[in-house]
Chain length 200, copies 3
């Protein structure tokens, strides 16, 4: 199980790094911008979570390999990658949304946070790297737009499932899979059928 | 006294949450944006203060009720609230500016910070949630504009009064009231008579 | 050596504070904006580093004199300074880039961070105050633009030199001078000959 999680983590981080670097290219940034946007997209949410929970030094300071992978992938993507469509990144991105949300929630639980804060930490971990990326690209966060397909909402619902399972003494591996799986499938469903939140 | 402070805190947080949600609606965000902007407006300043001072886990991680109130108010405001004018929020917002500034300053004092840093922490706590809100809305912070009525300045002066009172061994409740009261009244005065800072 | 470093630190902080205040004036901000931009330009990078490494309370909370200098310089620059050209700030800015990068890297080393993270902390400390400044001014970070002369890159290369020297048991003062000196000279060279990174 731990090995699967590790592989999925690197798949998700890679997807974030690549999408970040491509986004930077779109905004006519140089490689400094591209590596920064890649890092922020991949690690921004987890960084906020670690800071809020007081888990310092934060996670990517203690795991150098994450930085190396992100750095190298950003470099390659920026100079040489030619994706026919960014749709290819939807699946690995949804994997990341799923596992990072539930992982973030589990860290909040570890310090005894309440359910609402646990869920918020899950959503921040999974979805807010993209908010920081958009800030650095000087545009309104895509996550907040009315026409964006459900993203934070999938994370919100999936982490609630994870929290409720944990309360119900469900085995922690099963709780993780149920939570992260719901997020993953719900996100792909939302993209496929263009599901958005109701406007006011 | 503690009960009054608690009531005032919730009044102020509510005002921030509502104004944040309405601001999000103005920028055509969805409810994810609205709740985020509400949180950032209400808790952004205090979050920065806690991070800078090393007070982690930060305050809203340890108090779930604040999050619940903000979340619910943002939801209601975003979908159903129809304020004839945002002027109605000026008074509760000024209450928040007053009490959060002095509260933030008192936390800095607790760790033995110098006067200048104490005052800066007061101003950050009271006034910088709005800066983060404006960043997320992709606009130049209103706090920094030349035509904005005194806001951070009220906080700056009131926290200095609080610091000086504390140095002069004034009773802490009275010091709090003098500081927060000055900020509150000065802010309302500045709005009423459109007092701004001199341009260069 | 310590005294020289102290003098250079204040020269660099002063340059950041002045350039921040002038930038604020260009964006028609008031003095609240000017002091904030000055602080963010001067202390933003080091603040991020301290937060990521868990060094709290962060450095400018514990050293009030830095805040006083920044505050006073921002005030004077904003209202009265009339620089014929911002070129005058290039040399002190390059001094700051050099010493803050290597200083930031040395803090990361102290907590046993890996080489890649050490270098990243150096670059963040030296170069990312400007990124936060640009965010607050609501523009795409200059650091990321393709036409910007090498900036983060100088910091990146100089901190690698510092790291390699330290690995090679070079005397720490000499390692510092080699790292910071390289950054300083490389930055001035890049400005003089308009050296930029290759576009994709």
């Amino acid at each position: 199980m731990d090995n699967i999680l590790l592989v999925l983590t690197y798949i998700a981080v890679s997807a974030s790094a690549i999408s970040g670097a491509l986004e930077a290219r779109k905004h006519e940034m140089d490689i400094v911008g591209a590596t920064t946007i890649a890092f922020v997209t991949a690690f921004g949410g987890g960084t906020m979570r670690d800071l809020f929970l007081g888990r310092t030094p934060i996670f990517w300071v203690t795991d150098p390999f994450l930085s190396v992978v992100t750095f190298v992938l950003a470099l390659i993507s920026f100079y040489w990658l030619d994706l026919p469509s960014s749709q290819w990144l939807n699946v690995p991105d949804a994997i990341g949304l799923g596992i990072f949300s539930v992982l973030g929630a589990s860290y909040a639980m570890q310090i005894g946070a309440s359910a609402i804060v646990t869920v918020l930490m899950g959503v921040i971990t999974g979805a807010f790297g993209g908010v920081l990326r958009d800030l650095l690209c000087n545009q309104m966060p895509n996550l907040f737009r009315q026409k964006t397909e459900l993203y934070a909402t999938c994370s919100f619902i999936g982490t609630w499932i994870f929290v409720l399972c944990t309360w119900g003494k469900v085995n922690s591996v099963i709780a993780f899979i149920l939570g992260a799986g719901t997020i993953f499938l719900m996100r792909l469903y939302a993209i496929r059928f263009k599901v958005t939140l109701p406007a006011p």
